[in-house]
Amino acid sequence: MDGMAPFERWFDICELSDIPVRGSRRLEKDGMKIAIFRTSDDRVFAVENRCAHKGGPLSEGIVHDCAVTCPLHNWVYDLSTGKAQGGDEGQIRTFPAEVRDGGRVHLRLAMAS
């Protein structure tokens, strides 16, 4: 995966209510582990489920505002940009995510390779 997949499309993933408020769900696509988050104001974000620091599973972290804190060593990521905050430097991959009418969560991912 080099992040430059040739063709992407939107996938219908789940109901918004399948993800707890300030919680997350996990998803795997072609070996890529993805974490989908729902914030307290019902926005959804999807990022690669792997902390840039030591590979911790971000899906297991505490969600606050538009950010998640990694459960292993407390790195904090802005979910909209994938950038590590505070004194830490790192970037994780983000995927476009939306709640479409009817409350279905959609993700934009590469087509099957």
Binding site: C14, P20, D41, I62, H64, D65, P71
Partner: protein, 814 residues
């Protein structure tokens, strides 16, 4: 040469301040005896309102501790009343005997005025004057209980707001048509009334009370117009009277108060008086600033060489200490001939400002909703500064407009003249503070407070002092290094814990809203702490917020570096069976668990379990009777034991049995940090009980209870708390310690740190060993809370009914 004997009657704020000045000037001048009718020394009476509302504790408002008096060599006779003064023989007669004086200071203060209406002596009718009154009110605060406060002045409204914050239904009865009519004009009084009504306080102005009724205890109050208001508590806050009985009986000249000259001397040259009991040129004083002036004058008068100051009457400004209400008034703001007023209103923001001018001088100011310019206006009133026609046009917009400088607090303090008063209570000017900063190298508010007293009394000028420090020191001023919970709040753990209880906050959003969190939903630091505090404060009521828990507690297993989990079932007292071991072996095979290890706490750890497999692993372990060991939680971990008297040839008691009983009692309990126990069967201590949070060492005669050990980053042997004779007592003692820690500990503070913070094992001894009633109450509260925490979290999740989403990944349908 023997020293002159100085006797002081009364240890209120004026007496406390007087003593400081006197001892500063000459610590050896007098042999001092201090009487106080209250069974304690000086505390900051102004701050009783925050104690009532739960925003501060009594300990925080003590200004002079027992240690301080001891260091100064003062003989304290607290809790002892003075019966009479014999001026001819220069002695005072206390309840416990006669003391001779060369100089006598009468600082008897004032007493609250109790309206002598029928029923005023019923139980449940209180004044609002001292700590006893405050505690009486706090005790009366039951949810749904009703309080009536008589008097809508400063004190009455502070009492009403405090009682309301503690969850009572509060009605204020005020004789006059508007609140605080002596300090506020009707418009500001109206805004205040509206604000208080919004907080759920019922205000009845023009209310004339007729009688209090009840059978032995207050049941309600009747008004002249026939209205009947039920009440469990009635607080009278209608004013104070100087306490002059002792002086009068001794034949001193008195009016409303004890008459003094400008050196605070009474009509007897050996007797002085200071504080609220004093009358000077027709004035009596109830606010603290002039009393502190008196204290200084008196100290100087008693040290001959320093006697160069006179007491002069001066204006005082008023501030109301109700959190969230900004109100300031100073000077004289009555309408009158030759007086003009300038008024500014912004109804949407609830702001009202009114300045009263006489000729070209500012004589009064009332500010409501925005009081930042209070000190600036007050300065102009006191100095009688002339206001030019041009300045007059913009005067109401305050200092920042007048100076043309931007609206930032630092520029505002920078623009103040050196004589401008910063601390009204203590009469400390900007110049005095900046001088102290320069000369003493001060760098924080505490330093300024210690050297100048500024911000040490009511505390409302703390922000101004901080701005002054920032302005003087620039970057060298470290912003208040308060132990805030996290970046989302200014409040420390202690304040948050106390406010959750006193304001009856029962959810994370309620805490964040009411305590003004700066972020919309907290962070990974504060949310778990708040979740714990709420859980510990409201057992059975608060619904655990799973999303505010760290992953380990959310999924009841320990996350490992590769994202897999470890599983540790409980082994009660470290004991297992063949059936359990067989079940563990089967689970390890079935789920292909890569590693099995014994923990340091006598249990089995299965490492490398995939998250999806957790419910299956738990179901199989449950089948064999095993439950969660909470090895992942800020909760009770293990109770390690040795084999004790059942097997060991030197064992003195059944340590294994006691360990199992303790574990069965305490398992499932959430705590500020992890808690580990151990029980050793004899002093050889094979279970290593003396480095645990709570340890029991059995001896022939009973059970030694040890607390506050540590064997991690820090290593610390326990302190011996006490020794008890029966197993039941040992269990009660351990559980009481655990509950006290649950109620007082800061999140992520181990028992040894909590103990150190509250005053060491001696303090725990006082709370739990000496105070039998408290111990029993703690034990009962622990057992009550445990009713709600002993469901096995593994079984709940293995059933698939709880948090199923955690253990399933989403499927992608293409």
């Amino acid at each position: 040469m023997s020293r002159e004997k100085l006797v002081i009657i009364g240890a209120g704020m004026a007496a406390g301040r007087f003593l400081e000045h006197l001892l500063d000037a000459n610590p050896d001048a007098y042999d001092i005896t201090l009487f106080n009718a209250e069974p304690r020394g000086t505390y900051n009476r102004i701050m009783l309102s925050p104690v009532l509302s739960g925003e501060k504790s009594y300990e925080e408002i003590v200004t002079h501790t027992d240690d301080w008096y001891a260091e100064q060599g003062i003989t304290c006779r607290f809790g002892e009343r003075i019966i009479s003064v014999d001026r001819a023989n220069k002695t005072v007669l206390g309840e416990k005997g006669i003391v001779a004086y060369d100089k006598l200071v009468i600082a008897t203060g004032s007493s609250p005025f109790i309206i002598p209406m029928p029923g005023h002596d019923l139980s449940g009718v209180l004044a609002y004057r001292d700590l006893e009154d405050t505690n009486g009110m706090i005790d009366a605060c039951q949810p749904g209980a009703k309080a009536v406060v008589i008097g809508g002045g400063l004190l009455g409204l502070e009492a009403a707001a405090g009682l309301r914050l503690r969850g009572m239904d509060v009605t204020v009865l005020h004789l006059m048509p508007t609140l605080m009519e002596r300090q506020l004009d009707p418009s500001a009084g109206y805004l205040l009334e509206k604000e208080l009504a919004d907080r759920g306080i019922e205000i009845r102005t023009g209310a004339n009370s007729k009688e209090i009724y009840g059978d032995g205890k207050v049941e309600g109050i009747r008004l002249e117009d026939g209205t009947d208001i039920p009440a469990n508590l009635i607080v009278m806050a209608v004013g104070i009277r100087p306490s002059i009985a002792i002086a009068k009986e001794a034949g001193l000249d008195v009016g409303r108060g004890i008459l003094v000259d400008c050196k605070m001397k009474t009509s007897d040259p050996s007797i002085y008086s200071v504080g609220e009991c004093v009358e000077f040129e027709g004035n009596c004083y109830g606010l603290v600033a002039p009393l502190f002036d008196q204290a200084k004058v008196l100290a100087n008068a008693l040290i001959a060489e320093a006697d160069d100051t006179d007491f002069v009457h001066s204006e005082t400004a008023t501030k109301l200490k109700v959190t969230g209400v900004d109100l300031f008034s100073a000077g004289d703001f009555a309408d009158g001939e030759g007086r003009d007023e300038i008024v500014f209103r912004d109804p949407a923001r609830g702001i009202y400002k009114r300045l009263v001018l006489e000729g070209d001088k500012l004589v009064g100011a009332v500010l409501y909703g925005e009081t930042a310019d209070g000190a600036w206006f007050f300065d102009k009133i006191k100095k009688g500064e002339e206001i030019g026609a041009e300045d007059r046009a913009t005067l109401i917009f305050g200092q920042s407009y007048a100076g043309g400088s931007p609206l930032d607090p630092m520029a505002a303090v920078a623009a103040l003249p050196d004589e401008a008063e910063i601390c009204g209570c203590n009469g400390i000017s900007k110049g005095q503070i900046t001088q102290a900063i320069d000369e003493k190298g001060l760098s924080d508010v505490e330093g300024v407070r210690a050297c100048t007293k500024a911000s040490g009394s009511c505390g409302t000028c703390t922000g101004l002092v901080e701005s002054l420090l920032a302005w003087k020191l620039g970057d060298a001023f470290a912003a208040p290094a308060k132990n805030a919970v996290c970046g989302c709040t200014e409040l420390g753990h202690d304040e948050v814990r106390r406010l959750i209880v006193s304001q009856r906050l029962k959810s994370v959003p309620a805490v964040m809203q009411e305590l003004s969190w700066k972020t919309s939903c907290g962070c990974a630091k504060c949310r778990p702490a708040l979740n714990y505090y709420l859980l510990a404060s409201w057992p059975g009521e608060y619904v655990d917020d799973n999303q505010s828990r760290f992953i380990n507690e959310r999924v009841h297993a320990n996350i490992q570096k590769d994202g897999t989990y470890s599983v540790v079932p409980r082994a009660w007292g470290g004991v297992t069976t063949a059936a359990e071991l067989r079940a563990v072996a089967d689970v390890v095979d079935k789920y292909d668990i890569p590693m099995v290890k014994y923990t340091g706490g006598q249990r089995i750890d299965m490492l490398g379990v995939k998250k999806e497999d957790l419910p299956g692993v738990w179901a199989d372990l449950n089948e064999a009777g095993m439950v969660s060991g909470h090895a992942y939680g800020k909760s009770l971990r293990t109770v390690k034991t040795c084999v004790g008297s059942e097997w060991c040839r030197v064992g003195t008691q059944d340590s294994t049995g006691l360990g199992i009983k303790l574990e069965k009692l305490m398992w499932g309990s959430w705590t500020p940090h992890k808690v580990k126990l151990a029980v050793s069967g004899c002093p050889r201590n094979c279970a290593e009980a003396t480095c645990k949070d709570i340890g029991v060492v059995c001896v022939d005669s009973g059970y030694q209870i040890h607390i506050a050990g540590a064997a991690g980053m820090e290593v610390r042997a326990t302190d011996h708390l006490t020794t008890v004779t029966t197993e039941e007592e040992a269990i009660e003692m351990c559980a009481a310690v655990l509950q006290a820690y649950r109620e007082q500990g800061f999140y992520l503070e181990r028992i040894y740190k909590w103990t150190a913070r509250i005053g060491g094992a001696e303090k725990v001894h006082e709370l739990i060993v000496d105070d039998v009633e408290n111990r029993k109450a703690l034990f009962e509260r622990f057992k009550y809370a445990q009713q709600f925490s002993q469901d096995d979290p593994w079984a709940e999740r293995a059933s698939g009914k709880v948090d199923a989403h955690e253990f399933k990944t989403l499927e992608l349908v293409e």
